[in-house]
Amino acid sequence: MLELLDWLDRPSVLHGLHLVGSLTLFVIGLYGLLGKRHLLKILMSLALMELAVNLLFIALATTSGETAPILSDGLTAFTGMADPVPQALILTAIVIGMAVLALGVSLAIRYHRLSASADIRALADAQD
């Protein structure tokens, strides 16, 4: 059992698991985006895809044993810390993703109030 845990903790195995997991999430999001009709489900799929990319980046840029890249509590040097760049980038990407999602949901609600429909196909047909 312990050997299995050790094996799982090796960076290559861990990264492989993270890679497979986040790519699965990405594909689920892509499926929802293409296959679903409800606007909120489509926005959720979008959020899922973004999440998958964020997860992929964070997981592959860190290896187990590294600490958060924050200088405090006696830590004064960047040793044994994770690379801070991916974390800063993903924090920004999360904020942007949330803003887009909030905007999308509020537009969807407005649209639903005006048209009593939340179907993406109605969106495509409502022309001229």
Partner: protein, 499 residues
């Protein structure tokens, strides 16, 4: 560093002004600022041309020593920044005196238009991939809201559609950036350009495809541009003028810039870009033939011109790239004019459908006359700037002994002539008690001269550039050189020569 010499102003000033908008509302200076800020930046950009010609301006804003934001202002970026500031100035002037629609007045459009300008400027100025993603989203979000700002059903539908497709593009681009960082450990574009060759070829291909999907959606290339006419149809023509004049051009520049920088083998980049450009050109022009709604027709025509510009850029040769920059400017002028004319017409007639506009030329001679001038400029008739820009592109291809793009561009021009003359014919057809004359009485009084001033300025510029292209020839050639010279860029940023 001198106060005026920093490229950061092109991004920071519109943002600062946008975020302090409550103050401007209280002081009642919104309209003045919306015109004044882009105008000031335009003057700054014009003043910088001589400086940038000597050496590109590079600004690094350091947050904490290893982390910083890097801006790169070379001749190509400066040309586009000046063009963007000009486009926003013009639309702001049009809105100030001309806009009667309440949703185009006040704080919302003020904030959004300035953020769109900041995003567009940031896209062409940034030298850092993640910053590029942030600016892509800033420009994107302001564009989504601007599309939906009218807050009725078609506008919301268009805004939602734009938001969904735009976010998908953002995710794909982010994934490409993430993979680049994981492979090279770099985000600075010049450093990435140096390190990219060492990535395994399969990964190179994956990154290129992901970035191409993301930027292809954003810059409206075939086959990722099915959504464009719906968005252009649903939003206001004055806003669409900015999308066609500013936003697409920014993304197109980013695409070409990244392709030049990152793809080591120019042959492969050339095949991809030229194929995409040629396909976009032909498909869009053929689709435009069948459009019966003015905004849709203009949207497809805009797509066609984007394809033409990419075709010329994609050849990755100085002579065609200079022509492509010229055509980019010329197309922005013409499409601004055409979309603003559509905005004027929409104010007086109920629909921009072909049938509803029969005989409009007899009722509104000046407005429709301006439409004809814009259409002729797109077609490339002398003495308008569209003629000179297309001629430059054709000359560039001819000088390089490559003839299939020439044939393609000429065929596309014929198709363009087909649909634009169809519209012109209908606009001047005798109106048999049509909807135009009926709706004239129901809608408002004639426009003042101030409404037409920006449009007449556009016509003046088209004539000037058509008759005297040498006015900007130096700037165009410099821009083409700066865009295509990969080594120079890497050297100026990193201080070392490329391998």
């Amino acid at each position: 560093m001198e106060f005026s010499a920093s490229p950061i102003w092109f991004i920071a000033l519109p943002m600062l002004a946008a975020f302090s908008s409550p103050l401007w509302v209280r002081w009642r200076v919104l309209d003045q600022l919306l015109l004044g800020i882009p105008l000031g930046l335009l003057l700054l950009a014009l003043g910088l041309f001589a400086t940038v010609q000597q050496a590109p301006l590079i600004e690094t804003i350091v947050i904490a020593p290893p982390l910083g934001i890097h801006l790169h202002l070379d001749s190509a970026a400066l040309l586009l920044v000046a063009l963007f500031c000009f486009a926003v100035t013009l639309v702001a002037a049009f809105l100030w005196h001309g806009a009667t629609e309440t949703h185009l007045r006040g704080r919302q459009p003020f904030v959004l238009i300035l953020l769109l300008l900041a995003g567009g400027n940031g896209l062409v100025l940034t030298g850092d991939l993640f910053n590029l993603y942030v600016f892509l989203e800033i420009a994107g979000i302001s564009a989504y809201v601007l599309t939906a700002v009218r807050d009725d059903r078609p506008a919301l539908a268009a805004g939602l559609k734009y938001l969904i497709i735009g976010s998908v593009a953002g995710v794909f681009f982010l994934l490409a950036v993430v993979l680049i960082y994981l492979q090279t450990g770099q985000l600075n574009m010049a450093a990435v350009a140096q390190a990219f060759a060492e990535i395994p070829p399969a990964m190179q291909g994956l990154i290129a495809v992901l970035a191409l999907i993301g930027l292809g959606i954003k810059s409206e290339l075939f086959p990722f541009n099915f959504w464009v006419p719906d968005v252009y149809r649903g939003s206001d023509p004055a806003i669409t003028a900015l999308f066609s004049g500013l936003l697409v051009k920014a993304f197109l520049f980013v695409l070409v810039h990244l392709a030049v920088l990152i793809w080591i083998d120019p042959e492969i980049a050339r095949i991809w870009l030229m194929t995409l450009g040629a396909l976009t050109l032909m498909v869009a022009e053929l689709a435009a033939l069948r459009q019966d709604e003015m905004r849709r027709m203009l949207a497809y025509s805009s797509l066609g011109q984007i394809g033409l510009i990419l075709l010329a850029f994609g050849f990755l040769h100085e002579s065609t790239a200079a022509g492509a920059f010229f055509h980019l400017i010329s197309h922005t002028l013409a499409k601004l004019l055409l979309f603003l004319v559509a905005a004027l017409l929409l104010r007086r007639v109920l629909s921009l459908h072909l049938d509803a506009l029969t005989g409009a030329g007899r009722v509104y001679p000046l407005t429709v006359g301006l439409f004809v001038v814009g259409a002729l400029c797109i077609l490339g008739l002398p003495p308008l700037s569209g003629f000179m820009s297309k001629l430059w592109i054709l000359q560039g291809f001819a000088a390089a002994q490559t003839f299939w793009p020439i044939a393609l561009i000429l065929v596309a021009a014929l198709i363009e002539a087909g649909y634009y003359f169809r519209w012109i014919r209908v606009l001047y057809a005798p109106a048999a008690a049509s909807a135009v004359t009926d709706s004239k009485t129901s809608k408002t009084a004639p426009e003042s001269w101030a409404t037409y001033a920006p449009l007449l300025l556009l016509v003046g510029l088209m004539l000037l550039l058509g008759i005297a292209p040498f006015v900007i020839e130096g700037a165009l050639v410099d821009a083409a050189r700066a865009l295509l010279d990969r080594d120079l860029l890497i050297q100026s940023v990193l201080g070392v020569a490329a391998q």
